[in-house]
């Protein structure tokens, strides 16, 4: 069967190459359609209730999109004429950006506490610095412990002030989104019908071009803001912050990483390939296979509208690793055949290589695919799509390497003998000798070290701090951290309180009981280390109390003020915190990502139990917005990873059983894979590396890498074992002498290549690089020590087996 295939491929080599060229060009064209979608909703299960709820609340309270610009004077005071001039100039320049609705700063914000008395005929625009040019002293006094503006416009130490650039919402997009939300809302207490789903998909399609455009605009805006503040940097430090800036910085850094480290890793791989094989063709060929595989896959994804998310963004790296492994195995086999048969011509060598390697490569591809296929059952949308993507990628890789390798080489002439370098020969012989001589020691060490490391899994936890994605030494990190610490945090968290029936009163806008409840909650929230700025109607009542000579308002006075104030003014001041139609109140806060040793899950738990202590009915409130969403996704991912891990192991064993047709072999073969995967997780646990959105797929990756080595090794071992006059020792030695080289090469190439990522400024990239290298090394070590020991001990040649094998 494989010989037949090999003949066809070699005979029609040119045709295959032409076909590949055409497919490559087509794929490259279709690859433009391929999209990387880093938005939060790609991370969710379809129709996630929490997400829908957040959307509904965001629509209800319509908090505005904003960017913060912090201004920290170097030699002068925050409250000084120079600062005021700078702020005014920067603000007026920023206001010229077309999408900017307003730039809120200390100069144009209404200083209600100066109004002296609670006056229903309030004219806020008359109570600003711009209208009155208050003295610096007065401004300092007003902003000291201001219920609304401390932490928002001026930091507590009064060393810096912030300008809040508020953007206009896109009316068209908002319209489409509210239509989507209107449909999705039904999920909160029911199911969506097929029709609904279709309608949503349709609306999303409409929204997409607008969103794309908006993304570009935002990118430009951030650049323009940086340009605007540049001239002021002589006298003051100016920092940008806020969720959008953070997102943008992340995209920027990922993109530059892709270019810099993509090429660096490529170069490193070329170099190592050349050092190992000393021939240009052995550099070009793997690169060709890898390049074409990736292009074809990306093209296919573009065609199928598969989108890469944060979770699946590693698929290119993974595909490169797996393709490279296949090609290196083929090269090593070819070179060894070349060495052994000095008379055979190129075609014969190729045919033999193909025949020898077709099965193990195919098997490796299948097992890896099965490993990833188990992700499909995780039930989490991005993980499911990652599984599908990897299956497609694996198929493409196996298909193109197995076709391209012989097809390309068929056009070359046989060219001199080649032999493995002395160092690798030495390594292989040492390893095989060690394995044969010290089986007990290996098992003992594996159990001790492996067991010890695996225990670290208990310490494994999930944390996702976007701030910590940036290396500490970077400028971006300094800026974002300053805003995070001094101006009220980064990741938004909303507490939505539905006023219980018993607290509602027809003649009151809000009862004192309700406000007091919120006040209590807010007081508790303020004391958490990680909460930044906290704002709700309570801050306004605090301000009112201050104006009212320190006396609390009565609930009736509050109602009077609310009724008498201009409707547009109440909407402007309170709209984001109070929704009378639904009797809902919102406490808005941002979590400080820079909080040290912050355990997010524990924080939410404490918060919930504190709410219970305050006698707040869990039914009357909900926690929404990005903080909870990310936490929810992470928790789900974490548990699904752990859950699917078992499934992966089971599926893997099954496939190995089908391939090797022996329970014993299958069980032995699965051990190194389990060990590698668990040790990687254990090491992360011991080192205190938390799983986050970027590293959560590491177990799947480790598995994918490990299983490749295992299949090749076991397959060759069984083959050698079942030859005539063979026993375990000979088979091990022979296997090492053939597959062993391929394992060393792939491990070195990938480990060195990916460890280059440790020079990145983006922490997830560093971790990904190092952990992948570690997985590679671990897989290599277990597959060359533990695996042979177990195989030699338990798998003996069987006469019937030989019979069966040769028959097939």
């Amino acid at each position: 069967m494989s010989a037949f295939l090999a003949n066809i491929i070699i005979r029609h080599a040119k045709l295959i190459l032409v076909l590949f060229t055409i497919c490559g060009v087509l794929a490259a064209w279709s690859a433009q359609q391929f999209k990387i979608d880093a938005s939060a909703d790609t991370l969710l299960i379809k129709n996630n209730k929490m997400f829908v709820e957040t959307q509904v609340m965001n629509e209800r309270f319509s908090p505005q999109e904003f960017i913060l610009v912090a201004y920290k004077p170097k030699a002068h005071e925050v409250f000084s004429q120079q600062s005021f001039n700078d702020i005014q100039q920067i603000s007026s320049e920023l206001k010229r950006l077309p999408r900017v609705a307003d730039v809120t700063n200390i100069l144009n914000v209404p200083l209600l506490s100066l109004s002296g008395k609670l006056d229903p005929n309030l004219k806020p625009e008359q109570l600003t610095w711009q209208a009155n040019h208050y003295s610096s002293e007065k401004m300092r006094e007003v902003f000291t412990d201001h219920p609304l503006f401390t932490d928002l416009l001026v930091n507590k130490d009064q060393t810096a002030t912030a300008m809040q650039i508020v953007f206009k919402p896109n009316a068209e997009l908002r319209d489409i989104q509210s239509q989507i939300i209107a449909i999705q809302k039904t999920i909160l207490d029911g199911e969506l019908t097929e029709q609904d789903e279709q309608k949503i998909a349709e609306l999303k399609k409409q929204a997409e071009p607008i969103e794309q455009k908006l993304k570009k605009t935002r990118q430009q805006e951030i650049k323009q803001i940086y340009q605007t503040i540049e001239p002021f940097k002589d006298d003051a430090d100016l920092y940008l912050g806020g969720a959008y800036v953070l997102g943008q910085q992340m995209i920027d850094i990922i993109q530059s990483d892709l270019v810099i480290f993509g090429s660096a890793i490529g170069l490193a791989i070329c170099l190592i390939l050349f050092i190992f094989f000393r021939k240009i063709r052995w550099v070009i060929l793997p690169l060709l296979c890898c390049g074409l595989s990736v292009i074809l896959t990306v093209g296919l994804f573009g065609l199928l509208d598969f989108r890469a998310t944060v979770i699946s963004s590693n698929f290119i790296a993974l595909q490169l690793i797996l393709t490279l492994a296949v090609v290196v195995h083929l090269i090593v086999e070819f070179r060894q055949l070349e060495e052994q048969n000095s008379e055979a011509n190129q075609q014969e060598l190729l045919r033999q290589t193909f025949v020898n390697k077709f099965k193990p490569c195919l098997y490796a591809g299948i097992t890896t695919s099965v490993g990833f296929a188990s992700l499909i059952f995780s039930g989490i949308q991005p993980v499911v799509s990652f599984g599908w993507m990897m299956i497609v990628a694996m198929c493409v890789s196996i298909f193109s390497s197995l076709l391209l390798f012989p097809a390309v080489l068929a056009s070359f002439k046989r060219k001199g003998d080649s032999h493995e370098s002395r160092i690798s020969q030495k390594v292989v012989s040492v390893l095989s000798a060690f394995t044969l001589k010290r089986p007990t020691f290996i098992v003992f060490i594996s159990v001790i070290v492996g067991g010890g490391l695996i225990f670290g899994i208990v310490k494994l936890n999930v944390e996702n701090s976007f701030l910590n994605y940036f290396k500490e030494s970077t400028q971006v990190r300094t800026e974002l951290e300053f805003i995070d610490r001094e101006f009220g945090g980064s990741t938004p968290l909303d507490f939505i309180y539905t006023v219980p029936e018993s607290e509602r009163r027809d003649d009151l806008v809000m009862s004192a009981k309700t406000i007091q409840t919120l006040q209590k909650i807010q007081h508790v929230m303020r004391q958490y280390e990680a909460t930044g700025n906290i704002t709700s109607v309570v801050n306004f009542t605090e301000l009112a109390k201050k104006i009212n000579q320190g006396r609390p308002l009565t609930e009736y006075e509050l109602t009077v003020i609310y009724t008498l104030l201009d409707k547009s003014l109440t909407e402007q001041l309170l709209g984001a915190y109070f929704n009378p139609e639904n009797n809902q109140l919102r406490i808005s806060t941002r979590i400080q990502d820079s909080t040290e040793n912050f355990n997010r899950a524990e924080f939410l738990e404490t918060f919930r139990s504190d709410l219970a202590l305050l006698d707040i009915d869990p039914k009357s409130y909900s926690l929404t917005n990005l903080f909870v969403l990310y936490q929810d996704i992470l928790q789900r991912l974490f548990s699904s990873q752990i859950m699917t891990l078992g499934l992966v192991f089971a599926a893997l064993t099954l496939v190995l059983l089908v391939i090797f047709r022996s329970i014993k072999v299958a069980l032995i073969a699965v051990i190194p894979n389990i060990l590698t995967t668990l040790v990687i997780l254990g090491v992360m646990g011991w080192l205190g590396i938390a799983l986050d959105l970027m590293t959560i797929t590491i177990s799947a990756i480790a598995m994918g890498i490990a299983v490749d080595d295992t299949i090749h090794f076991v397959h060759r071992y069984l083959e050698e074992l079942n030859r005539e006059n063979s026993d375990g020792d000979i088979a091990i030695k022979k296997t090492f002498k053939s597959v062993g080289y391929a394992l060393i090469y792939t491990t070195t190439i990938i480990a060195v290549g990916f460890s280059l990522l440790s020079f990145s400024d983006f922490v997830p990239s560093i971790l990904f690089g190092l952990l992948t290298s570690l997985a590679m090394l671990l897989a290599f070590i277990t597959d060359t020590t533990l695996l042979p020991v177990l195989l030699r001990k338990f798998v003996k040649p069987k006469p019937q087996k030989i019979q069966a094998q040769s028959n097939s």
Binding site: G116, K513, Q519, Q527, G550
Partner: protein
């Protein structure tokens, strides 16, 4: 001949006032036991919070003093409540006032604000404020606030002379002596006289027994009584009350339109504010300073919410 009607009025007024005061004192005795703990014990006015941070207390920003017949907080015994034993007489008076406001005073007030220019109204305001400065001074004296009393005397002297009979307020503008209104109600409060119970006065609107006594007594001892004769005195005082009411007219109208039971709404508004003032005395003069520095807050624009309806205005 002139003195007789004044004397007669003083006597009748005095009797009426005394009755009100006595009722106030007597009702206060009944309520005394209920209110006492709240007034003296500060902890009753704080919110107790138990959380992972331990047990803490904070002062509320919004408070409530429910009427006992309302459904809310009945079970909560440590909350100050108030009674409305005179509801049977208050409601008809309120209804009468309401109609009076609706058909007479509010339209009149609207016309008045439209026709009379701002500076004139402001001067009229100053005039009536100035006229009660001696009363302020006396009350402050009785409360033991000697320096405040001196200030009020000073203001009266300055504004009556340089301020052209009080039509202007150079005391505030040039001498930076702020007005500090003090009524008999404040004096009685100082001596721990209870408010008695809620009371709606015809024409004058909502009040309580103590404040009602204060209002009527002050109108009797108002300096206007000594410079003018009776029909004029009455007219001037009525005009003063009307003038004070005009800026509140739209407020009353708006609030009235938003509630189903305006009697309860205005009663609760009045009583809660009154009880709040009793529990939380105003703090310091920090805000006076703030007000001074703000050129946009003229006296005319600022309304104290406690006086939404001209209850404590002397007529």
């Amino acid at each position: 001949m002139l003195t007789r009607p004044i004397l007669k009025k003083i006597i009748t007024g005095g009797v009426l006032s005394m009755t009100l005061l006595l009722t106030a004192c007597s009702t206060n005795d009944v309520q005394h036991t209920v209110e006492q703990p709240v007034n003296s014990n500060v902890s009753g006015s704080e919110l107790v919070i138990t959380s992972s941070h331990g047990t803490q207390t904070i002062e509320p920003t919004v408070v409530s003093y429910p009427a006992p017949n309302s459904v809310q907080d009945k079970q909560n015994s440590d909350v100050t409540t108030f009674n409305d034993p005179l509801e049977f007489i208050n409601r008809p008076i309120f209804a009468f006032n309401d109609k009076l406001f609706e058909y007479v005073l509010i339209p009149a007030a609207k016309g008045y604000t439209k026709v009379v220019p701002d500076p004139v109204r402001s001067s009229v305001g100053h005039f009536f404020s100035n006229i009660r400065e001696p009363l302020n001074a006396l009350n402050q004296l009785f409360q033991g606030e000697v320096s405040d009393s001196g200030k009020s005397v000073g203001r009266f002297a300055i504004n009556s002379t340089i301020g052209l009979l009080g039509f202007f307020d150079p005391a505030t503008a040039w001498f930076e002596i702020d007005e500090n209104v003090s009524t008999i109600n404040d004096t009685l409060m100082k001596y721990d006289v209870g408010y008695g119970s809620y009371l709606v006065l015809p024409f004058l609107g909502q009040s309580d027994l103590r404040n009602g006594f204060s209002t009527i007594t002050e109108s009797i001892f108002s300096p206007i009584q000594y410079v003018t004769e009776n029909p004029e005195t009455l007219y001037i005082q009525a005009y003063g009350g009307f003038h004070a009411f005009t800026p509140e007219a739209p407020t009353y109208e708006k609030l009235r339109s938003e509630t189903d039971d305006p009697y309860v709404f205005f009663r609760n508004l009045y009583m809660q504010s009154m009880l709040r003032d009793q529990q939380y005395p105003a703090q310091g003069s920090l805000n006076d300073k703030a007000q001074q520095g703000n050129p946009n807050t003229s006296d005319e624009n600022t309304q104290d919410l406690d006086t939404d309806v001209p209850a404590s205005q002397p007529e």
